[in-house]
Amino acid sequence: MPPSPTSPAPTHADPGLAAPLGVRLDGVGRRFGDLDALRGVSLDLAPGRLVAFIGPSGCGKTTLLRIIGGLDHATAGRVTYDGGPRPPSALSFAFQDARLLPWRSVLRNVALPLELAGAPRPQREARARDMLARVDLADFADARPHTLSGGMQMRVALARALVTRPRLLLLDEPFGALDAITRVDLDDELRRLWRADPMTVLLVTHSISEAIYLADRVIVLAPRPGRIIDDIPVDIPHAARAPAVRTTPDFVQRVARAQAALERGVRAAAR
């Protein structure tokens, strides 16, 4: 496979190639038959930021993420990436379910995206080992996924998503199925990984608290039709965000604003 700017960087310390990707949505809509899942969504998502999407179920937040990720297509409007089309192999995904291949070792699961991109075995396994160390799972490289706890499986999935050094990481309720304590741990882990590697992260969640805890910006969506109802900047410095931040007035105030926006959206849909 010929080297190209978008193929995975050969080593971990190679900053130039992994510049975060900015995304722009212009009047994006998605219809499923008679159902307007999304209507007129326009957003400018700056590169290198962590943006959270929240909203009640049916608001189209997952659909929006899938359209940005190329797993679904918009029926109206368009999406551009740094002003152009979606660059190949610049994106990674993680989902609510870890989606690990049960027959592969943890290491080979993490190495999968590199393998599919044609990276030679020594290189991809070195990268996967490195990634596993960064999610504190170095000792589990040879384990099978089913022997790991749910939280550990999710960290493997994160490691797999990050192993390609994506310029844009799309997370669809990645910790939604985990218990509260594990979830907070993984939130911190995610932030650490994001701060270490420059990339744009789009996070879909149904937890207001998680969204504000992690994101630079929280987009609130309302259902029927799915649309943006609020756009909340979160300017609390990331260095200051520790579990205790959740009780500060800044934090509480933003939670209240998001809550109010959500309720407004639901009321509007009910009418």
Partner: protein, 260 residues
């Protein structure tokens, strides 16, 4: 060793009880051996001329193994094709059901005409009987691959071959092994029935011919001994396939995980 005993113990005990009841039944009713021989008489029939019987078993085993091997490779290939090509799956897959309804006894004379006598025709008979469960289980296995995992491969731009080797084949492996285990037992039946019609009835006689001869000679004890020989072939093949399946699947599949 203890695990082996734990696995093999209960069925061995069942066999021991069955053989005991069989001997008891024959002894108590005094049924003559040309109607139903006792286990002792069956063993004696085997011991009388073990050489030819074992040689016949070997010939049947060869055809069984070949037929099974071809059914396995061809079955997985056909199953893959049917699962991958929507038009074929709709148009052809229902017809492959007919394969399992083919009375192989009726087809066996045709196999002789097409393949000649001996190994090829018998192998073909074993293959025809064994291939359906392989096809069906391959199709089922491939079609029930988790769509979420398929999506994962979409995201990372997997090619057709990568998708097949990296996802579909391993995901379908438990199902394919289920098909192979069924096929292992069926292959012997197909081989013996094929031999009834296509086996050599001379010094190269396989088990099917030994059975025919023994029936004609009213040697019911020998019929039983020969049946047990062919059952041993099926049982061995079944064991090998199960063992291979266990080796392949034990690291990850629930069916093969040892219970604590």
């Amino acid at each position: 060793m203890r695990r082996l005993l734990a696995t093999a113990g209960p069925p061995l005990l069942t066999v021991a009880i069955a053989v005991g009841l069989w001997q008891l039944g024959v002894t108590l009713t005094g049924v003559p051996d040309y109607l139903c021989p006792s286990p002792f008489e069956v063993a004696a029939a085997f011991a009388e001329r073990p050489g030819p019987l074992l040689a016949a078993t070997g010939r049947t085993a060869a055809a069984t193994l070949l037929g099974f091997g071809i059914a396995a490779l061809l079955g997985v290939a056909i199953g893959t094709l049917l699962a991958s090509v929507e038009a074929l799956r709709r148009g052809v897959y229902p017809l492959t059901n007919l394969l399992q309804m083919v009375p192989v006894v009726a087809v066996a004379p045709l196999l002789t005409i097409w393949f000649g006598y001996g190994l090829s025709a018998v192998t073909a008979s074993a293959c025809i009987v064994a291939i359906f469960p392989v096809i069906a289980n391959t199709v089922d296995g491939l079609r029930s691959v988790d769509p979420h995992l398929r999506e994962l491969f979409d995201i990372y731009g997997a090619g057709r071959a990568q998708r097949w080797w990296g996802l579909e084949l391993p995901a379908a492996t438990p199902s394919i092994f289920t098909g192979l285990r069924i096929a292992a037992g069926l292959a012997v039946i197909g081989a013996v029935v094929g031999e009834f019609v296509s086996g050599f009835a001379d010094h190269r006689a396989p088990i099917g011919i030994v059975i025919l001869t023994a029936i004609r000679e009213a040697r019911t004890d020998l019929v039983f001994a020969a049946i047990l020989c062919s059952a041993a072939v099926g049982f061995t093949l079944f064991g090998l396939v199960s063992g291979a399946g266990h080796l392949v699947l034990r690291r990850w599949h629930p069916s093969s995980r040892s219970t604590p």
